[in-house]
Structures are given as C-alpha cells and as structure tokens.
C-alpha cells in the first residue's frame, strides 16, 4: 500500500502513483504510446474520457488523502485549462499539498 502524502514523498514517487492510478482506471493498453511523463496530456496524449478523469481524481484522493483538494483545484480552472491538463499539473498539485 502506497503511503499517504508525507513530506518525504518525492515527485518521482508521486508520478509513479499517478501512472499506477491511470492504469488501474483505463487498463494497461493506455501505455501503448509510451510511459507516462510529466508532460503527458490526459486528453491529447492519453485520450482519457472525462468520466475516467473523475475516477482518477477519486482514486488519487483516496491514496493521498484530504490534504489534496482536487475539487477546489478544478473549480478554479476554465474548461480549456481542464482539457489541456498534464500529468505534471496533477503531480505538482499533489506535491504542493505535502505537509
């Protein structure tokens, strides 16, 4: 079991956890175009469906706990910003919530 969000958790570990969550939601075949990196876009590169992104946010919420405010984060973004989100944006959000 991956630990909750701790000060020691590195960005690489967060990236790995995000990748694992993406695979858990969308299946292994999501990685056919290559590994997930910080610049991978959820929409243009991975082609996640919007409902899959909802499930991803929920999974990461469970993993990293209530310190990460996905909902507040989403509400502060315009639709085109949401469509353009990258894995790095999500890793950064989680990283900035480290205690």
């Amino acid at each position: 079991m991956t630990p909750e969000l701790t000060p020691e958790l590195t960005n690489e570990e967060i990236l790995k956890a995000v990748e694992q969550a993406i695979v858990a939601i969308a299946g292994d075949e999501i990685l056919v175009t290559g590994p997930v990196t910080m610049t991978t876009s959820f929409n243009a590169d991975l082609e996640l469906e919007s409902i899959e992104f909802v499930a991803l946010a929920e999974k990461l919420q469970h993993r990293f706990g209530e310190r990460v405010d996905f909902v507040g984060w989403i509400s502060g973004k315009e639709l085109d910003q949401i469509i353009a989100l990258t894995v790095g944006d999500l890793v950064e959000l989680i990283a900035t919530c480290r205690p």
């Binding site: 919007s50 992104f53 909802v54 929920e58 507040g72 639709l79 949401i82």
Partner: protein, 249 residues
C-alpha cells in the same frame, strides 16, 4: 470507485463537498442521455456548489461507469433509480440537464416532500422532441461526432481512443437498448406538486420554445442564457452562478 446498487443496477456515484448535515441543503445533479455522464456536472457547476453544500452526482444506468442496461431509460424507471440513490438524504435541491431534467421533474412530481428546489436545464419538452436531437444517432460514427458540442468534438477529432469509446457507447445505447423507444413513448411532465422551479435554456437552443411554454404552463421561473443545448459547456460560469443564486436565495 463508489458503486451503489439501486433498482438492481450498479450505479457510479460521486459525492463532493461537506457531509450531508453540514452547510446548505444537499444538491443532487442528473445528466443528459447518450453523451452525458456525471462528468457533465463534475467539471462545470458541481465544484462551485460543493464549496457550501453536499453534492451528489451519479451516472445514469447505461452511461459513464454505471452498469449497461438494455431497458429503463423512461423517466419513471430513472426516477425510481434516483429515489433509491437518495433515500439517505434530507430534503434536497435537484438539478438536471436535458433528459436528466425530465427525470428530476418526474421525481419531484412523485416525491414532493423530498425536493426543496428544482432547476431544470435544457429539458426537452415535449419529451419526444429529444428524438430530434438524437436523429443523428442512426447516421453513423462520423455524423455522431459532427453533432457533438464543439468542445467535445475538438477533443474527439484529435485522436482514436476517445472517439472509439464514445461511438461504441452510443452504438450500444441506440442499437441494443430501448433508449430511443423510451424517448418516443415519454409523456409530458405534470405541473402538479412541483417545488419552486427554475428553468434555464440556451438562447440558440432548439429546446427553448418548448421550455418557455412549459415555464408558462407550470409557473416556473424562466431564464435564458447565451448558448445552445450543452449550456453547462457553452455558459459554464453563468449557468453555475444562476444555479447557485437560485438555490441560495
């Protein structure tokens, strides 16, 4: 994933915001048929509403991450699903888009004691007029993509995975379920027992005249916002503000 079995169907449910008994009355949000899912609200009005109240959204049967079902897309069955998914809530506000708005109307008519305020967004009235919006569904994958709202079309046009999954889901609903027959057979909603109701329509939507007639007939507050049928995408900020004002006022 949060799965709740209601009416024998596994539903994907998402709850946002404070726990039920904290803050303003809870709000339940329903989405439209075929290309809708709870994501319609999750990325638009729900996060703002969740700042002050408990928000519950779910994927209708056959949609999003809920179980596929061959039948039961009429508002009577869908309102029964909604009933089972909200039994633990005190009286709540109900917000629906498109067919989800008709489900909300039906639910409010059947359970007036459960609904405090109702917001219907782009409800197709009469209900069978929704067939006009789904006419493209029999025309093949390219026509389906052409008929999508622009933001979704851009996302789909760029690649393969989203387009394939969307088309596959649409083809399932149209060919292998009673969805179109259920739309055709749907009766007009009743005005009786409706709570205070706000009807929101897009100024360029084909649903607007039917909505205006409904608002007159049932005494609902009518508001027209700039945009088409997918008002949550076309006028995301205005729609969110209008819903929030109505529920808070």
């Amino acid at each position: 994933m949060s799965t709740v079995v209601a009416n024998g169907v596994a539903h994907h449910v998402q709850n946002l915001g404070p726990v039920v008994d904290r803050g303003a009355p809870p709000v339940v949000m329903t989405h439209g048929l075929v290309i809708g899912s709870l994501a319609s609200w999750f990325f638009t009005a729900a996060p703002a509403l969740a700042q002050s109240r408990h928000v519950r959204m779910y994927d209708l049967r056959g949609h999003g991450r809920s179980a596929r079902m061959p039948s039961g897309y009429d508002t009577h069955t869908l309102a029964a699903d909604l009933d089972e998914l909200t039994r633990d809530l005190p009286p709540f506000d109900l917000v629906g888009h498109s067919w989800g708005a008709l489900v909300a109307l039906r639910f409010a008519h059947l359970h007036p004691e459960s609904v405090r305020r109702l917001v219907i967004v782009e409800a197709p009235l009469p209900p069978a007029s929704a067939i006009e919006m789904t006419a493209f569904l029999n025309a093949g994958p390219e026509a389906i993509i052409d008929a999508l709202p622009e933001s979704l079309r851009t996302a789909v046009a760029s690649g393969r995975r989203q387009a394939q999954r969307l088309v596959e889901s649409v083809v399932y609903l149209v060919r292998d379920t009673t969805l179109l027959a259920d739309i055709r057979a749907e009766p007009e909603p009743a005005c009786v027992g409706l709570p205070p109701t706000l009807a929101l329509y897009g100024d360029s939507s084909t649903c607007r005249p039917g909505g205006e007639a409904f608002a007159r007939r049932c005494g609902a507050t009518l508001d027209i916002l700039p945009g088409g049928h997918y008002l949550h995408l076309d006028a995301r900020a205005e729609l969110t503000a209008r819903i929030q004002d109505y529920l808070d006022g």
